[in-house]
Symmetry: C2
Subunit: 331 residues, 2 copies
């Protein structure tokens, strides 16, 4: 056999020995590498230590689409009706259903049997029926934007497409369809409400200081942030089975130093509560619901040692929709 | 006379000499300082080389108030009616009237005789009747914000107060009450118009790409920037006696890379044209007015080597005003 450099060494014997030696070394290295690979820990879907998760999807999609998170309890008929509507919303990436019907099977089988579907829908089975289950930092979340909807709320695709485009211009805010406010009183005690409460006295018209997350877009990073709030916040939400949305507004307002929400006036938003066969009506029908929310505002002010909520009177609508001349004036 | 440390030196004679010497030095220094002060150049009101002028008013006021710039030609009766209204708008710092009535006396005497007035009003006498006279970087301007109004346009104080608060949240945009758009055609030629033109085809509803400066707030820095545009821009505006507002929108869009304007839907805006005794009706009644504006759009695209205008469909209204429940929905 031909040799080159090595064979100039004294004798072929040296060449063959070297060749054997080299081959043995290579084989040993491969075995070691193989062993090491087998010993590597499997990559789990652990939460990254900071709020910026590495998106598995193209980063363009991560910005241009959103994930719908819908928590459901005792209204599966409404859930399925709404899923049929929401699964086809433009720019929707995925649906996460937070299944609060403890011990009950999800409709996943039925869902799959009625496929194919425009987007993936994942059912997250919960172990305890908690209001704040929907505020987990779900590993399934791949987009920067979350659309959170109550399981009895129907918002038109036009409204959602527009509100999503508004969120893209105000990504640090909760951009949604339901504005609320707090007012302070001479005693220093806060009260929670809506248009029926007095205006905060900042000039003409009304103000809002919260946008409810039951029909809103917000940055998925806030779900991560929510995992790092004082224990007392979780205790409050669990105690009342309420106020998770107020807590989120406190969180966002503290984070930005600005009004937490941007209100987009919906053209077509409906509550389908009365349409359910379950006979179950939402939590907000409880007699103490609003009083609880005022209670929560005051408790959160204690927990956060101050009132971070800020007022806004900006109301955003879509130019020229639905009426091409909805901006005409008498000029 | 008593001495202390110095008098411990040999003899009082030394102390007195030192005292005299010190006094002489002090006096000489004072004389030199006085001479230098006298020789300092007087501080003229020259434009600073960059667009950030040193405000003479408290910097808080500079941000919290605005200057009204109103150009006027052949409608002094309307001007005075509008001045009575606008002089009392909240947060107004000063009024600058751009007097395009060449050779005619301003109503300054009459104005002063009917004082006192809430804010100073300065009449800037022009030498040539030019549309772009109002776009000078007036030394009288002390605020960051400019409110520019046509001399036949009446906007309610509520609208102005709200729009000013919106401008403070969007200071790099033209925040105003009159949206317009351009559309492109397959031939590449642009056309200018309003709701009557086809939508730009970016989803539902309409879009706007300009907010006219005849009823709008914008940053005073843009007046400085306007002084540094290509000569062809001035030539175009002078040739048409039109399109200064389109040029400003091009300037702002180029500067920000975003839509130039933010449209605030006015509750009460009126054109007082028909109320004038002068019989003079505005330039926009000329047969060629709109065609000129399409012409200007295309010329400006040539001058700026591209189309910088961007579309927006954000329409802003004031929450809860005038109707406390203008945001109620059928939920």
């Amino acid at each position: 056999m031909r040799c080159f450099h090595f064979c100039k060494l004294p004798g072929r014997v040296m060449g063959i020995r070297l060749l054997r030696f080299t081959s043995v070394v290579i084989i040993v290295l491969l075995l070691v590498a193989g062993a090491l690979t087998a010993l590597l820990p499997t990559i789990k879907d652990d939460k990254l230590p900071n709020s910026r998760r590495e998106p598995k999807i193209q980063s363009q999609s991560a910005l241009d689409s959103f994930t719908l998170i819908m928590q459901t309890y005792n209204r599966t008929d409404l859930l399925l009706k709404l899923l049929n509507h929401y699964q086809a919303i433009p720019h929707l990436h995925k649906v996460i259903v937070v299944w609060n019907n403890i011990g009950e099977k999800t409709p996943e089988e039925m869902w799959n049997s009625l496929g194919p579907h425009p987007v993936p829908v994942v059912f997250k089975v919960q172990t305890v029926n908690r209001m704040r289950n929907r505020l987990q930092n779900f590993p399934d979340l791949e987009t920067k934007a979350v659309l959170m909807m109550d399981d009895d709320t129907l918002v038109s695709a036009h409204d959602l497409a527009f509100a999503f485009s508004v969120w893209q211009q105000f990504p640090e805010h909760i951009v949604g369809f339901v504005p609320r406010k707090h007012i302070s009183t001479p005693s220093g005690v806060y009260s929670y409400g809506s248009f029926e409460l007095q205006n905060p006295g900042l000039g003409n018209g009304d103000q809002y200081s919260m946008v409810l997350i039951g029909a809103a877009f917000f940055h998925s990073g806030y779900l991560e942030d929510f995992q790092h709030q004082p224990e007392a916040v979780y205790a409050l939400i669990d105690e009342t089975q309420n106020c998770d949305d107020i807590a989120m507004n406190f969180l966002v307002a503290k984070h930005t130093g600005k009004p937490s929400g941007v209100f987009v006036k919906p053209v077509d938003i409906r509550n389908l509560e009365k349409d359910t066969n379950s006979g179950y009506s939402g939590m907000w029908h409880r007699a103490e619901h609003l009083l609880q929310r005022s209670y929560c505002v005051n408790k959160l002010v204690n927990i956060y040692d101050g009132m971070p909520l800020k007022y806004s009177n900006i109301m955003i609508s879509q130019f020229g929709f639905p009426n091409y001349a909805n901006h005409k004036n008498k000029m």
